[in-house]
Amino acid sequence: MTTSTNPRPGAGPRGSTSPSGRPTDAGSRNSGAHSAGDGGTSAASAVVRPRKPVKWGRIGAWTLVAVALIVTLAPFLWMLRTALSSNHSLAANAGSLLPADFSWGAFKRVLGLQSPEEAIAEGGSGAAINFWLYLRNSIIVSTLVTAGQVFFSAMAAYAFSRLRWPGRDKVFALFLATMMVPPIFTALPNFLMIKNLGLLNTYAGIILPFLFMTPFAIFFLRQFFLSMSREVEEAAMLDGAKHVRIFFQIVMPNAAAPLATLALLTFIGTWNEYFWPLLVGQDESVRVLTVGLGVFKSQSPQGAPDWSGLMAATLVAALPVLLLFIAFGKKVVNSIGFSGIK
């Protein structure tokens, strides 16, 4: 019965519940009033009309979402498809959606499992690509930077949030102000300093500027530390615990989630960093993957680039981030809202 859902005739059409307006055959005094409205008065038709566009709107909206997903994801599939193609067949099958003449050759080439002759035969440059070395370098650099930056920033954040000392807020403001300084601005003097210290082309040179802190990391953790309750901390103090112990045994474990999120963001960021390692880590022995990819591209002769090899290399280079993202995607996604509002 329509009467049960719409007790008052006036509230009926506007109160909305979608089918209630239509069934005029439901035989009641209420529905009579409705049908009269539907027939002529502009008020009722103005109320009914938006319903259809809403439905179309939803279909349209989902179509747009689908288009956005395709635009976002299709290039990655194309990357995979190219990496699994044979280089020589790419030209003949430039538009085919499946790998052109399926082959693992590109991955073998990238991972150094092919002899130079084979590589050249398949369209590679034949030059050695120390992919495993670059991968190792990227892992070393990203791991050390992440561990150091998160830990030292956590220490500083503790001092800025849980300890009381004169000048605390001024020092914090100074730290924050450096968030405004663009990286390129400090990159040149930092390069000179690393050079003067004789640390060009060393891990230390690549790692040091990011090892101790970034203003953002401190700011990020301070927010969480501030929100932790003082009760547990003070109970521990009554038991005679010192700040060092409180930091390690109470604050750090309780902040495991934000620490993990920050570690994840730091790792991905360091893994993707290009400019700084390009400046100070040009030497083969410390070259990281991003810089290595640039070199790989320039090795390909301009006439016939090794596209399959290049796409296989980019895919392998992106793999750790993709795996991390599959494992912890939700954490990353949910932390973005916070990290953006710096």
Binding site: V65, T72, P182, W271, N272, F325, I336, I341
Partner: protein, 314 residues
Amino acid sequence: MTTITKLPDPTAGRAGQPAPARKNRRRSGDLRIALFFIFPAMIGFVAFFLIPTIRGVYLSFTEYSILGEPEWIGVKNYTSILGDELFWNAMTVTVQYVALNIGFQTVIALGLALLMHRVAKSTFIRGALLLPFLVANVIVALLWFWMLDYQLGIVNEVINWLGLPRIAFFGSEQWAIPTIAFVNVWRHMGYTALLIFAGLQAIPNHVYEVASLDGASPARTFWSITMPLLRPVLVLVLVVTVIGSFQVFDTVAVTTGGGPINASRVIQMYIYQKAFTESDFGYASALSVILFVILALVAFIQMKFLKGNESDLD
């Protein structure tokens, strides 16, 4: 009663405004331990942020080619920059890039954010849209370098199939900057959308309820409620993305290297070349001071005129 008031007494400093002597002692104790906790970060801050900032400004007033000592030359770097055609070209190219990039990115991201907010809140969709942002600039650049290749790229295949002439996306002067802008819009749109989405989530529902009771149309609701309430977030997003896109480098370095001719030599590319190809660190430092000043001005103007730090809520 008495037992309760007595118990917290020994902890004193807790909420106690009438600070007794004990609290003062704790305060100085805190300073010492605070110094310990802040020490590593302080090293990093002083060595890699503070000193470099000061040194960067100093170097901009010198002539310095790494070999030998920096030589003080006053504002000569700055006066030469004003007459440097390549600098003005780099500025023009960068501003073009920023305008294209931010324009498309903001509009698309706003649309995506509204879609996410209204119809598709799933973490999976948000995650998928964020994916390009998590992959390195270099990888994104190489991927699109391949897809937009003149001969074999899938995009040109489709263009060709449609019966249109192929486009040398990275290889022609008029296309280089729009193409690089497009690639970075693709990389950042999901990220920017998430930031705006977070802002949309923060708008309380009852505002919309009141609007729908008043019979406001969706368009009216968007322009009169969503946009004004979203303003602080939009301004922040704009500040962050404009500052970021002024420093575009990776994509250019991997794809065009600044060419063809100077068509895509953005300001950071120019700084890089001055410093590391021409070994002119003084000049490069002066260029980066100018970039710094521009970025600070952009941030200041955006915050000031768009009133980014004021909310219409409450």
